[in-house]
C-alpha cells in the first residue's frame, strides 16, 4: 500500500471534465462490470481538455486486467495524430477494489501527460449508485492524485481546436 501522503489530492493539477463525459465513463464502467472497462478521452494537443470519448474494447476481457487490442491501439493513435489530438484522460475501472492505481497500473503507465482516471464499481456493480471516480498523474512510477472538477460543459470551441 502506498504511503498516505501520496494519496492526498494536490492543488497544482486538476482534471476538468464535463458532466456528460464523466457520466459516460461511469456508465461504461457499470455496463461492463464485472469486467474492467477501459477507454480514453482525447483532446486537442496541448489543451488539457478532454473532449472526445473513445470507449475501447478490453481485449483481456478480465475482471482484474485490461489491455487495448494492439490493432485498435494503432488505429487509435493514428487517428489522434490525424486530428492533432492527444490522450488527455486514460480511464479504466476496478470492479472489486478501490479506484487507486495498482502496481500493474503504475508499472504500465506510459503517458506522462495524461490524467489516469480510475472508476470503482465495487459498491454497486451494474446498478445505479455512487461510484468512486478519481484521477491521478503517473510519472516514472510516482502516483499523484489530483482534484476532479466537473463542469456543465467544457469549452470545445476555442482556438486550440484550430491547431494545425
Amino acid at each position: 500500500m502506498p504511503a498516505e501522503p501520496a494519496r492526498r489530492p494536490t492543488l497544482d493539477r486538476v482534471l476538468r471534465i464535463d458532466q456528460a463525459t464523466y457520466d459516460a465513463i461511469v456508465e461504461h464502467a457499470r455496463r461492463d462490470h464485472p469486467v474492467e472497462a477501459c477507454g480514453m478521452v482525447a483532446g486537442p494537443l496541448g489543451s488539457d481538455r478532454p473532449v472526445r470519448l473513445i470507449e475501447m474494447v478490453n481485449a483481456a476481457g478480465s475482471p482484474t486486467f485490461y489491455e487495448y487490442d494492439s490493432t485498435d491501439l494503432l488505429r487509435l493513435y493514428r487517428e489522434l495524430d490525424d486530428r492533432d489530438e492527444e490522450p488527455v484522460v486514460i480511464y479504466h475501472s476496478h470492479t472489486a477494489t478501490e479506484a487507486y492505481p495498482s502496481v500493474t497500473d503504475i508499472n504500465l503507465a506510459s503517458e506522462p501527460g495524461a490524467h489516469y482516471v480510475l472508476v470503482s464499481t465495487q459498491e454497486h456493480g451494474n446498478n445505479a449508485g455512487p461510484v468512486e471516480f478519481r484521477s491521478y498523474r503517473i510519472i516514472d512510477g510516482v502516483v499523484t492524485e489530483e482534484e476532479v472538477t466537473i463542469a456543465a460543459a467544457v469549452d470545445t470551441n476555442d482556438a486550440a481546436e484550430e491547431h494545425s
Binding site: 474492467e36 477501459c38 480514453m40 475501447m56 483481456a60 478480465s62 475482471p63 482484474t64 486486467f65 485490461y66 489491455e67 487495448y68 494492439s70 490493432t71 491501439l73 494503432l74 493513435y77 486514460i90 479504466h92 476496478h94 470492479t95 472489486a96 477494489t97 492505481p101 495498482s102 500493474t104 497500473d105 504500465l108 503507465a109 506510459s110 503517458e111 506522462p112 501527460g113
Partner: protein, 95 residues
Amino acid sequence: MAIEVRIPTILRTYTGGEKAVNADSAGAGTLSALIDSLEANHPGIKDRLIDGEDLRRFVNIYINDEDVRFIGSLEAALSDGDQVVILPAVAGGAR
C-alpha cells in the same frame, strides 16, 4: 536502407524529443537489426523494447501497420521505405 521509426512520447527522452527517427536495418533486413541500429544512435532504447531475447510484453511494434507479433516478431522482415511504429500497450488493472 532507411526506415522511418515513429517513437512514442515515453521514449522520446532517447531521441532528443524527436517523434520519428530514421534507422537502418544494417542490411540484415530484420526488426532485430533495426533495433540494434536504433540503439547505436539512441543508447538505452533497446532495453525499453527488448527483454532478453524477446520483444517486451507491453511494447507493440508495427511494420506497415502489422503487429510484428504476427509476422515473425524480432525476425520480422523489413525493406526499404517500410514504416515502423512503436507504441507502448495501454494496459493495467487491479491484479
